[in-house]
């Protein structure tokens, strides 16, 4: 039977920001599949003009309520590279621990509150609180741990206070670090429970060959700085970020699209995994293998599992970072500097993928030019083309409009899009 249907989702729920999905099927054939981003732009690049280097990261952190630490650190890294400021070793460890906190919080929020309800056919996590209370509690407990890590290292969970140019303005106390270490240990069962829960879910099988872009430094699983690489073999210096993004405008989206070797590319946990899986911690490695996650994985729905694997990596790596901080006297945490003219890129791995800030300063250290390229901006084109391929496949298999709609919204959510971020 040749079917006709339209799917029009206005302001897709359970994602950050505002996006629409349009699917049209006529006489059994897909005629349109569009990922339309309609977020109101805020013009951060223009707001940054004239702002002092010292204050810039306090402004850019406001690009995103979920990954504010990543934005803050991308700006700080860009400015430190532009002004040749080397932060002390302890400050670097504190910053990485802050990133871990943010990533854990963001992944837990996405996995349990945004993605999980689809797998259980629920509208939100609230009814899951009654049907699977232990699962929601495990998710909350991981999210809380992530937030506690961010609070201990930056002063609060959203919009960091003590991440500053040259280092950090305040180090966590040794007592706080010990508490944190204990908290990580105590919450391992919650992570294991979460992992077992995800094992029971059926992840849709869908493959569209994709180029995955992330940082890589060859030594550690990446979070702050390094080479820009892709699974198609591209390697570029951090300052050459524009060669990785090639932004262009499309008429149906207030977010720009990007591309590298193909029509589109993907960033995020799956991209990090695909480019760096051998650098994961031991346990994280085992978990990936147990889910059959192997590089290069081209199923975007597996981004959920890659996020779960990263939670395991964070548990292992955060403990090591805390150990190293406990061995430090934490006296040298901030390098003083004189503002000067310069230009550089700061690239970090935000929870949703590689994030670039490029900042140019004048002699007084005021921002003269800024460019921010957000992970979701880099994913929007891939979401758009995936949506087309997935809907075409669903129609071919004779799926109903409801089944097709469900798969499509799950696909978009798998990317964990941060739409307000992408239209900053």
């Amino acid at each position: 039977m040749k079917v006709d249907f339209n799917i029009d989702i206005h302001h897709l729920p359970r994602v950050e920001g505002h996006g629409n999905i349009h699917i049209s099927v006529k006489e059994g054939k897909l005629t349109d599949a569009t990922w339309e981003v309609i977020e109101t732009p805020r013009f951060f690049e223009m707001m940054l003009r004239g702002v002092s280097a010292e204050r810039a990261s306090f402004l850019t952190s406001r690009i995103c309520g979920i990954c504010s630490i990543s934005h803050s650190l991308a700006s700080i890294r860009a400015l430190e590279r532009a002004m040749e400021i080397e932060p002390p070793k302890a400050a670097k460890a504190i910053r990485l621990l802050a990133m871990h906190g943010e990533t854990l919080q963001s992944h837990a929020l996405h996995l349990f509150f945004l993605a999980a309800p689809d797998f259980l056919d629920m509208p939100s996590a609230i009814p899951i609180l009654h049907s699977h209370p232990e699962i929601v509690k495990a998710g909350l407990s991981l999210k809380e741990l992530g937030n506690e890590m961010s609070i201990a290292t930056t002063g609060r969970a959203t919009h960091p206070v003590s991440l500053v140019l040259g280092g950090v303005s305040k180090a966590p106390s040794k007592e706080r670090l010990k508490e944190l270490k204990e908290m990580i240990r105590k919450r391992r069962p919650a992570l294991d429970k979460a992992t077992e829960f995800f094992r029971t879910l059926s992840i849709p099988e869908f493959v569209r060959e994709t180029e995955f872009i992330s940082l890589r430094n060859g030594k550690d699983y990446p979070f702050i700085g390094g080479d820009l690489v892709s699974t198609d073999g591209v390697v570029r210096d951090e300052n050459d970020y524009l060669q990785m993004t090639n932004e262009y405008l499309v008429d149906f989206s207030t977010s720009k699209f990007t591309r590298l070797s193909r029509h589109s590319s993907a960033a995020g946990a799956l991209a990090r995994f695909n480019n760096n899986s051998r650098l994961l911690g031991h346990r994280a490695h085992q978990i990936a293998a147990s889910f059959g996650l192997e590089p290069v994985c081209h199923n975007p729905f597996m981004n959920n599992i890659a996020q779960l694997v990263e939670c395991h990596h964070i548990f292992e790596n955060a403990e090591m970072l805390i150990e190293s901080l406990l061995d430090d006297d934490l006296q040298e945490i901030r390098t003083s500097y004189k503002p000067k003219a310069g230009a550089a890129t700061g690239a970090v791995e935000a929870p949703r993928g590689i994030l670039y800030h490029h900042i140019e300063t004048d002699d007084n250290g005021k921002v003269v030019k800024a460019d921010c390229i957000i992970p979701t901006t880099q994913n929007n084109a891939n979401i758009h083309y995936d949506l087309h391929a997935l809907a075409a496949e669903a129609v071919k298999e004779g799926k109903t409009d409801r089944e097709t709609e469900k798969l499509c919204v799950m696909l978009v959510r798998s990317y964990d899009p941060c739409i307000s971020c992408s239209v900053h």
Binding site: H11, P13, R14, V15, E16, G17, T40, P41, R42, F43, E45, M46, M47, R49, V51, S52, R55, F58, L59, R62, I63, C64, G65, I66, S68, L109, F113, L114, P117, P123, S124, A125, I126, L129, L140, S141, K143, E144, N147, T154, G155, R156, A157, T158, H159, V161, S162, V164, S169, K170, L249, D251, T254, S420, C421
Partner: protein
């Protein structure tokens, strides 16, 4: 639920976002240990960020973000028409927030700077109370979940309390922090409304005034202190304009 012997039903609530980072709504999902209890007080009717169930029969509307596009004005008016109580939360909703930093530059210039020749609609960032009546404001960038909890519980139990009238300095002194003025920095703690537990100066960074002015502040004497200490006027201006909360005072600046 019972409160002072009265039976209290769940309050129908909606949470809505306009131009912003959605960080304030995210705070609603924080304080994980008390979250299930907090949710127990509420019947969430509309909260796009966390639920695909959407109904338009809410009594309380929490509104985050500032207004920068004409379609947002219509959406905001519809929310106002439905809600018995409209709470503007976050510095963007209360003052226009960091989004207002773009207001310094002509619209054509900022659009061209980011989008080139593509047609994009944008208006100067406007606070919620410039468009519709606001019943209560919870400032902060981001808001503190404690305060949101107190306000929402206050509305639910009809025992709404006011925000602190005093400045951030009071909380900061209680936390025994070294005064940032003594470290040579301009801090807006003496003129900013308390309630944030002095989180920024406690992390050794200056208050940027995200909660707006405290009640009855002595602005001329604050300016005098900065002058006497020889601190940077440039830094002062950057901080006072950061969240757009001090527009009423900026013209008095000497």
């Amino acid at each position: 639920m019972n409160h002072l012997g009265f039976k209290i039903g769940k309050m129908k609530i909606g949470s809505f976002d306009f131009t912003c980072c959605e960080g304030c709504q995210l705070q609603l999902a924080n304080k994980e240990s008390t979250l299930p209890d907090f949710l127990g007080l509420l019947d969430i009717r509309n909260f796009r960020e966390i639920s695909s169930e959407r109904h338009d029969d809410y009594d309380i509307a929490l509104v985050e973000g500032s207004i920068t596009r004409s379609d947002e004005i219509e959406r905001l008016k519809a929310i106002r028409a439905q809600a018995s109580v409209l709470v503007a939360f976050g510095s963007c909703a209360c003052f226009g927030g960091v989004n207002s930093l773009k207001n310094r530059i002509p619209a054509e210039e900022i659009i061209k700077g980011v989008y080139g020749d593509k047609a994009i609609e944008t208006m100067p960032s406007t606070k919620i109370s410039d468009i519709v009546a606001v019943d209560f404001m919870i400032p902060g960038c981001p808001v503190s979940k404690d305060e949101v909890e107190r306000v929402v519980i206050g509305i639910v139990t009809r025992s709404l309390d006011n925000l602190p009238k005093y400045p951030v300095c009071v909380d900061c002194k209680q936390r025994l922090n070294t005064c940032l003025f003594d470290l040579g920095e301009v801090c807006l703690g003496p003129i900013t409304k308390a309630g944030c537990d002095a989180v920024c100066p406690s992390g050794r960074t200056a208050c940027l005034g995200c909660r707006g002015p405290a009640d009855d502040i002595n602005f001329p004497s604050f300016l005098q202190v900065i002058k006497e200490k020889g601190l940077s006027q440039d830094e002062l201006r950057e901080k006072l304009t950061f969240y757009n909360g001090f527009t009423d005072y900026l013209n008095h600046e000497s």
